[in-house]
Amino acid sequence: MAVLAIANCFICGCHSASSHRFISAIPRDETVAYSVSEHAGLSNAAHRHNISIYWNGSSGTNGTEQQIAMVERAISRGYLGIVLTPTAPFSLDTVIERALAKKIPVVILGAPISLPRDPNLSFILNDYQRSGALAAERIHQRIGNKGDIAVVGIDPMSPGSTIDADAFESTLHEIAPNINIVSRLTGPYSPGQAEIAIEQVLDEHPHLKAIYSLNLGITHGAVAAIRDSQRDGLITLVGNDQALDLLFLVRQNVIDSLVVQDMRGMGVQAVENIVALHEGRTIPPVTYFQPVLLTRANIDTETMQQRLKMDWRPSP
């Protein structure tokens, strides 16, 4: 029997670490710097609890289907928990509920999607209202009390995006009522589409002073559009979330600032939530983490570098 078992294992190519405890972490885009910071937080916290992180997210095409498959994989393998940043607001509801029905803790990271309350379900979210407020304050600081600005990348399908945009507008209205939002671009654009759309805005509004971009791809398009329009240095660009090249552009003063989420902290908290549930402790259904504004002045501070840290390998 032992010989047959060994032979079966060899032929089937079974893996060696099947008895280890795993948490499945499913980001929206695993390669972007802010996701890597999340991975770092997850790994470091998991290592303290002798847990491994299975990290795999959408690879771009069929992203939602991939995420669904990964949640189902976590369910079938009996993982300790699932940390998920959904690519779409509704498409993963069914599979999440299936995981919850199996008593698998699920932590939704970053996206305030609508799901029925469940003791095993928790949300760890960025304070999008604070994000909008930070951006508004920065633009006010940079351009003064009046001027024309644009808000780009509002995604009606993303609750976080609309909260952010609303908070930006309301804060701006409160602290600088003479700053006019002359253009609001909605929709999840590709960077190329964003470049074309923002070029059009720049053409229509030659005195535009600032742009607030609500997602990474739009920020890339905005930088390209500003450069193509030869308006470098004339337009204050404030973006959301960090990617390595955008952080470089902040250093180069091409981008004024970025509103940066505490993805690393969220990753740590996600693991703690799952561990707490397994230990029978209650957890708050929603936990908010505060964003900060990253500028050229503070990017090299230790506090900011720790927030941006990308060391996802478990600490020895």
Partner: protein, 720 residues
């Protein structure tokens, strides 16, 4: 008589067989995965490669990925390859990504960095040759600025050498001849694994892939030309990346490029406003040029799609495009077999990374023509499959329609081979009501980008008419096996019976026959003496006494043998009770005082143990009655945790042991005990009585071989 095989020999034979099977399996599975390796793309063969994500095709001796997917991979080789040199030509098709090779790969699955191994590639945003380590996360080991930059559409030759824990790479621009080198050593490295191709966020092309055993000289050649790092960078902080960028890319890093057209593809007829594809499809063919904007949904043949519909585009000269590229096409609409297409005069790239979601339709909706040239998704049952050159065709059916799926490219053959007719599939591709669809046959055709767009929802049903011959064969085989086994068992049973008869015959010959012969001899002597008048009275009485004694002894022997054959004494009764009854038969009423002692918790004994104990006990009692002149016999049955012991003791005259062991059948009793995996001990001395003690396991602990041996009745005492 069949000699029993020792247990260890059987186990060794099974282990040897298993090892041989594993070895053969390994050899067969890996017979084509030895170094050196060279691809067969020029012969349009790539069955040894496994796609993981991406949209892979074989075109003109190269393998091409048309997808912008993060981390699309194509893998081959052996997980046991250790030190090797990997060479390939690579080319980027799109922007903002990287294309390269992966080495010492294991644990590969779909995902950007979802493998454990090394990546060596050319990255366009910072024009870098980069080496790094992925382990379901990325660690950038050594980037180097490429001399002359990383150009889109230009072939580069990559040479990667892995020797021990040293990794070196050389990249050569095949147009300009410029070479760039990078190398580092990793302390705890990945030591072995497969090879592969990988692209990130862009399409790519690869050709001339070679892998061969690495030599130290090859590594030295690269190492000496590079700024070798004794420890890879593996940055963990943003400022580490910034420092790395400052050190290697201060002159070449140009982030945030424009996503607009390449200058060479710029549209010169910019005055024509674009129209929707649907308008073009529903209008008559026109001589005037039209401009369309859409997203590439299939590259070969080329299809684009906008919000209103899709259309095929024919180009006068090939353009390298990826799925998701946004294009602006100018040309004239034509019609072929009722389906419009655009004969393009110009094509401009507007952007990329734009995903088009497929529309989920029924087969009847697809057959209606409303989704012609559009990206759709639907389900069906696979009825058949076939290949013609590079073309793979799947014949599909659902409850309403019959349709066809077509795919080109030999990278699909593994997936194709695994598809079983009767499976339910979900497919994604371009729906066409085109020239190949004949009336009365397939309602429409789905053109696939790759076999990755085919998903098996469920396998074929276990029951189908096609499977009937196999099931019949299986049942017949089982019946034949059962019959054979039954006949063998019957044969063994018969042999056991015959063996037992032979034993009984010998026993009767040795005892009853001899005894009757003795009786006959004595009576004959009396008759002859009386007839001749020479026999005196006392001599005649002596002979008659002998004859009577012999007859009595024979009677006892016969009774004993009959009692041994009677099953009820061995199966249903307690052993001591059975032995007590047996002694009654032996003496026909007179016996020494019999004391029965039982201790321990009674438990079920195996048939073998019961039989052995009974036979030993009967033999011992028989010996006592014949030779010991005892007044008391004590039978003691002791149940222990896993064993049972039977002690037969008497207060008779005893004997010298082991000198007279043969006289009293001790060897036979010992043999019976050993056959039951037990032991026999005789304690005796002249004048001090005798104790025969047998101990053996309670339950059945015999292996299969032993059971077989016992069942076939080979070996053992014959009571001679």
């Amino acid at each position: 008589m069949i000699r029993p095989y020792p247990r260890w020999a059987i186990i060794a034979a099974v282990l040897a067989l298993a090892v041989m099977t594993l070895f053969l399996y390994t050899s067969v599975m890996h017979r084509d995965r030895r170094l050196p390796y060279h691809d067969s793309f020029a012969q349009n063969k790539a069955t040894e490669w496994t796609p993981i994500g991406g949209n892979w095709q074989l075109i003109d001796g190269a393998v091409v990925n048309r997808s912008d997917e993060n981390g699309a991979k194509l893998v081959t080789g052996s997980s046991r390859w250790k030190d090797y040199q990997l060479d390939a030509d690579v080319k980027l098709i799109g922007h903002d990504g990287d294309v390269g090779l992966i080495a010492r790969v294991g644990d590969e699955e779909r995902g950007a960095d979802s493998y454990n191994g090394y990546y060596i590639g050319l990255r366009s945003p910072d024009s870098a040759l980069v080496i790094g380590h992925a382990d379901h996360g990325w660690m950038e080991g050594r980037p180097v600025a490429m001399l002359g930059g990383v150009q889109i559409g230009v072939w580069y030759h990559l040479t990667v050498v892995l020797f021990g824990c040293d990794i070196g790479a050389e990249a050569t621009n095949l147009v300009s001849g410029q070479k760039t080198y990078a190398a580092f050593e990793e302390k705890l490295c990945v030591e072995q694994g497969k090879i592969g191709l990988r692209s990130m966020s862009t399409g790519g092309a690869w050709r001339n892939i070679n892998a061969q055993a690495a030599t130290p000289a090859a590594l030295v050649a690269i190492r000496s030309r590079s700024s070798f790092l004794a420890t890879p960078n593996y940055p963990t902080r943003e400022d580490d990346y910034d420092n790395m960028r400052e050190a290697y890319f201060s002159s070449t890093f140009l982030p945030a490029r424009s996503y607009r057209v390449e200058p060479a593809l710029h549209n010169h007829s910019s005055g024509v406003p674009p129209v929707s594809i649907e308008m073009v499809r529903t209008s008559e063919s026109q001589t005037a040029e039209v401009k369309l904007q859409g997203v590439v949904t299939l590259t070969s043949p080329l299809y684009i799609q906008d919000d209103s519909g899709g259309i095929q585009v024919e180009l006068s000269s090939p353009v390298a495009l990826n799925l998701g590229d946004e294009v602006e096409v100018t040309g004239r609409t034509q019609e072929r077999d009722g389906s419009p297409f655009l004969l393009a005069s110009n094509l401009a790239l507007r952007g990329d990374h734009t995903l088009v979601a497929p529309v989920s339709v029924t087969s009847t909706q697809a057959a209606g023509g409303a989704f012609d040239a559009r990206l759709v998704e639907l389900r069906g049952i696979l009825k058949g499959k076939g290949t013609s050159g590079n073309q793979i065709t799947l014949q599909m059916e659902d409850s309403e329609q019959m349709f066809r799926i077509m795919d080109s490219g030999n990278l699909s053959l593994k997936t194709y081979d695994a598809l079983a007719p009767g499976s339910e599939l979900r497919v994604r591709g371009i729906c066409t009501i085109g020239p190949d669809n004949q009336p009365g046959a397939d309602a429409f055709t789905i053109l696939l980008g790759s076999m990755e767009d085919v998903e098996v929802l469920s396998g074929p049903p276990w029951w189908s008419p096609r499977m009937l011959p196999r099931y019949i064969l299986l049942v017949l085989s089982l019946i034949a096996a059962g019959l054979y086994t039954y006949l063998r068992i019957e044969r063994w049973n018969m042999r056991a019976i015959l063996d037992e008869r032979e034993r009984i015959a010998y026993s009767m010959h040795d005892t009853l026959a001899q005894s009757f012969a003795g009786v006959g001899f004595q009576l004959q002597g009396v008759r002859n003496g009386l007839r001749s008048g020479t026999l005196k009275f006392h001599a005649a009485m002596e002979k008659l006494d002998i004859a009577c004694n012999l007859a009595t002894q024979t009677h006892r022997e016969a009774s004993a043998q009959i009692s041994a054959l009677h099953p009820e004494y061995t199966e249903s009764s307690d052993i001591l009770t059975a032995l007590q009854r047996s002694t009654q038969f032996l003496l026909a009423g007179e016996f020494p005082r019999l004391e029965l002692v039982r201790s321990g918790n009674p438990r079920k004994l195996s048939m073998t143990t019961r039989d052995a104990l009974f036979q030993i006990g009967r033999e011992a009692i028989s010996n006592i009655l014949r030779h010991a002149a005892a007044s008391k016999i004590t039978l003691k049955l002791i149940y222990e945790a896993r064993q049972v012991a039977l002690e037969i003791c008497d207060n008779g005259r005893g004997f010298s042991y082991p000198e007279h062991a043969e006289d009293f059948g001790v060897r036979g009793m010992r043999h019976r005990a050993e056959r039951a995996h037990g032991k026999l001990v005789v304690e005796t001395s002249p004048g001090n009585g005798t104790c025969v003690k047998a101990r053996m396991p309670c339950g059945s602990r015999f292996g299969f071989a032993k059971r077989l041996q016992l069942y076939r009745g080979s070996g053992g005492p014959r009571g001679r």
